[in-house]
Amino acid sequence: MTPPAATSPSRRDRLIGRGWVQAAVLITLFGFFVLVLMGYQTYRSSPPIPERAVTAAGQTVYTGADVRAGQDVFLKNGLMQYGSVFGHGAYLGPDFTAAYLHRSAEIVNRSYGGSDTATRRTVDDFKRNTYDDKSGTLTVSDAQAQAFAALTRHYAEFFAAPEGKTGLRPKAITDPVQIKQLTSYFAWSAWAASTERPGKKYSYTNNWPSEPLVGNTPTADTVVWSVLSLVALIGGTGALFAAFGRWNWLGWHGRDQRELRFREPRSVPLTPSQRATAWFFFAMAGLFLVQTFVGAAGQHYRADLESFFGIPLDRWLPYNLVRTWHVQLSLFWVSVSFLAAGIFLVPMITRRRDPKGQSVLTHLLLGALVVVVLGSLLGELAGMRGAFGKLWSWFGMQGFEYLDLGKFWQILMTVGMAVWVAMLWRGMRHKLAGESRSNLPWLFFFAALALPVVYATGLLTDHGDTYTITDFWRFMVVHLWVEDFLELFTTVMVAYIFVLLGVVREKVALRVVYLDIVLYSAGGVIGTAHHWYFNGEPAEVLALGAFFSALEVIPLTFLTVEAWSFIRLGARQESRSPTPFPHRWAVMFLVAVGFWNFLGAGVFGFLINLPIVSYYEMGTMLTANHGHAAMMGVYGMLACGFAVFALRYLVPRKYWSDRLVSISFWSLNAGLAWMVFVTLMPIGLLQLYHAVDVGYWDARSLAYVGNPTNAVFEWLRLPGDVVFIVGGVAPLLWLAWNAVIHRRRDGAGGRDGLATQPQSAESADAADSREPELALFTEVTDPGGRDA
């Protein structure tokens, strides 16, 4: 390893070897290079939308304009939050691609007589690619045209059902033109899923979904890359353990010789911007509570489609609306906590007062967040009901799962995050000016900067593009932003908090962060492609996704192994410090993050990651099982941990209750475990079995989802959800409220109050020379007793 070298006379030395920095940069660049190549392939190889689909006699069945308009109808009505296309979307409604394919194949097969010969003829009908690229014409058989007409009638009845009971609003879509456009969209997706890609023996979707009637079976790529994916996982994990065995300096190690004295929270001074974050944490807890309520409403639809205890909930809050809100709010409340934690941490990192106007900016940011959250949620409600005319995708329901909010709100959200980064810059610029760009303060800033930058790529998702292209950009947010860059920001935040607490040395934290960047860049960036196995991308993308996403499990294993050393660090410092460690419960939330990271993201994630498993599993409750255990278990617990960390300073001692936090901690974990083990996992396993045994389209049908066995599992979830909401979320909301109402009862060291620092100087520069460093929450001393 190259020894650290000074970067410039005015900056602090680089604390880590040059090799680490080079490895992180090169591997990240390689990851993004491959990602860009895959993007190129996406535009080049996505299934075409024919200008017109005609019969041999020249009768038009549907046009390209119908398909594109059908995609708009699908999105603006929130149908991706009800069912799915190409397996991507929600889990209550059917997969419209698989359902259309199966139903039309049955009709075609019947029209050919239903014999073995008819079956072969049906397969040939669907497999033979009759699309003429030059004329843009797709020629379909008369039988397929008949199937299209029959299914248009079927969807007219389904979407216009006056009695509802499908999870959608009664009479959700009644316009015959829209019904035809929607059916055209489903027909096109079924065509892409069955007809052979030019020059290949499999369809545009790598033969997904499984459908024997049209000869759709797993491809050689799907099987072989599943095997190679396992090899990557086992080999990579072995290499990681070998590295740990060889190099003892990897991972978390404590401050071996120094002693720590933790300050009482009330004696730690807070800046005005830090105190303003009390509102953020209150908003976070409030949004969390609302998210659980709409989640419970969505869950009720799965248990009982008929009514909500006699109330026709689907008239006002149909499933696709409550699920949209549930998904959007999960991102919102976690993001609010992360933003607040960033603002809260800056003065602790810099040990300086706020720059002028920082508190005002913090309040403005909160206001902007409230506007975006309320505006987007109400926009989704109104958009699904047909509001906003041609501007539906700007202000209403843009409709892509996880990117449901209108583009206008999406832009505001991006701008809000950019303002947040600017605020961090204002607070940190003096600190950054004196630091090597490879050190922790810059990594903190870069990780924060990456959040708006990567989120902004989601703006390229355009409802006018082919589905495959829209999905490419959608997963820049769903995977790259959520699973990779939030993870990176998280690692840096946690590392920094531990450095500030004095629990680990900065050098050790830096190594952990760089190792994290290397491991996540190797697996996570290219691994984004594991979402694109069957959505119209070519087989190369499937191969890359399968191989590299298996490597994603390796850092999770690393985190689990390291969780023990991580815990041990806290124990050692607790036993040495003469004052009690104030962050027992914040650390416990981090322990829970480690637990759920391995179970939810690692085990449950890998369970559905192999292409051959995903082929049958995609869009079943095993995906929800992974989603809940990973999103709540990792990011949710982490957001709660950040909140508890900050609230410990924001809530005066008189109003603080460790007992309330402990109730919240145990209830959240117990509720989540119950949700996973009693409902999501058994239902998912049964659904997967059914998909392989009977058929994917049937496993995704409303009839299967609502069967009596499933209903029992769904109802059994109720006690766990009650524990989660009442015992888990409510105490957090109460503590955050206490932080809001008591945050102004200041007075340094005053009775029951919060210590504060003086108001911000007229100019941070002017104050620079005379400003004493803020007292931190930990004093670090060496064994001789000298302050460090």
Binding site: W247, G570, A571, E574, R584, M588, V591, F595, P682, L716
Partner: protein, 122 residues
């Protein structure tokens, strides 16, 4: 036995086994220094002072494992009882009854371990 009864019995047994494993893991005072896999740590880094299993946060981290194990075992009890209520053939009653009993015994033991840990702390 019908499919639902077989599934519930097998799944509940799997949960009981997972609960036992999780609880065992929580009780272990493991660390990279003690791990045989990560022998390099032992070789090159002087071991930290021994940590008592009741020291925080070992105690609480172990309790998290025990809590999740307890919830897992309670899930098994619930699912086995629901299976019994819906499947009444003699063989189904016998199998699910045994599974429910095993799961209940596991849940009871885990509940004691969880609340015992709480008392020890206070």
């Amino acid at each position: 036995m019908r499919f639902e009864a077989v599934f519930l019995a097998c799944y509940a047994l799997l949960l009981v086994a997972a609960a036992g494993g999780l609880h065992r893991l929580g009780k272990m005072n493991t660390s990279p220094w003690r791990s045989r896999v990560l022998a390099g740590h032992r070789r090159q880094v002087p071991g930290p002072p021994p940590t008592d299993g009741t020291d925080w946060p070992h105690s609480e981290a172990g309790r998290l494992n025990t809590l999740v194990a307890l919830v897992t075992a309670l899930s098994a009890v619930t699912l086995a009882i629901v299976g019994l209520a819906r499947n009444h053939r003699p063989i189904e009653i016998a199998v699910l009854g045994v599974v429910a009993f095993a799961a209940a015994a596991a849940a009871l033991g885990l509940a004691r371990a969880f609340t015992g840990g709480s008392r020890a702390r206070s």
